[in-house]
Assembly symmetry: C2
Homo-oligomer: 102 residues x 2
């Protein structure tokens, strides 16, 4: 029984990205505990780190050449499942030197 909206994080087990995936899941479930139906952690291989929402690919590490910043992921999820939600300081557009979590 899948619950929607379903966020899926496929991560590379060889790269040991489980904790990175779990951290990403925790960030999104903490921000959207009422709005998200589930977050699925999917073990993969070959350097994959893909984040999808109900089948729509939001971020692919290979395509983008790196990992998504958490504030950006939150904005993408918010725009799709809770467009009226304010995200506080996470709502600012990331600037070039904003490498810290927001």
């Amino acid at each position: 029984m899948t619950r929607e909206p379903r966020l899926e994080i496929e991560y590379c087990t060889q790269c040991r990205w489980l904790m990175r995936a779990a951290w990403t899941a925790q960030e999104l479930l903490t921000t959207f505990p009422q709005e998200l139906g589930e977050v699925a952690l999917v073990p993969g291989t070959g350097g994959v780190f893909d984040v999808s929402l109900d089948g729509e690919l939001l971020w692919s590490r290979k395509a983008e050449g790196g990992f998504a910043e958490i504030p950006l992921l939150k904005q993408m999820v918010r725009d799709r499942i809770a467009p009226d939600r304010k995200l506080g300081h996470s709502d600012r557009k990331p600037t070039g030197d904003a490498g810290h979590g927001m």
Copy 2:
């Protein structure tokens, strides 16, 4: 696209059990990275902490009156998806005073 075998952990957000659910997910994904298709974290309410595998309820906090020990969960998952796998010291039957993780 759900991946099977699918382990599902439904946790109570009001009880702040997200990290407990994430820890349980991490334990099982670390032990069964090849065998599990996915682990889904499902936000719930009302004191729920249910662990299911492909729709079969393995453990319910309310029915059992507490949380499952990780070694027991690993054994239940192993028996269903990887019956030939040895779990090392997790394979011993839990004794009454074995409260630590195995």
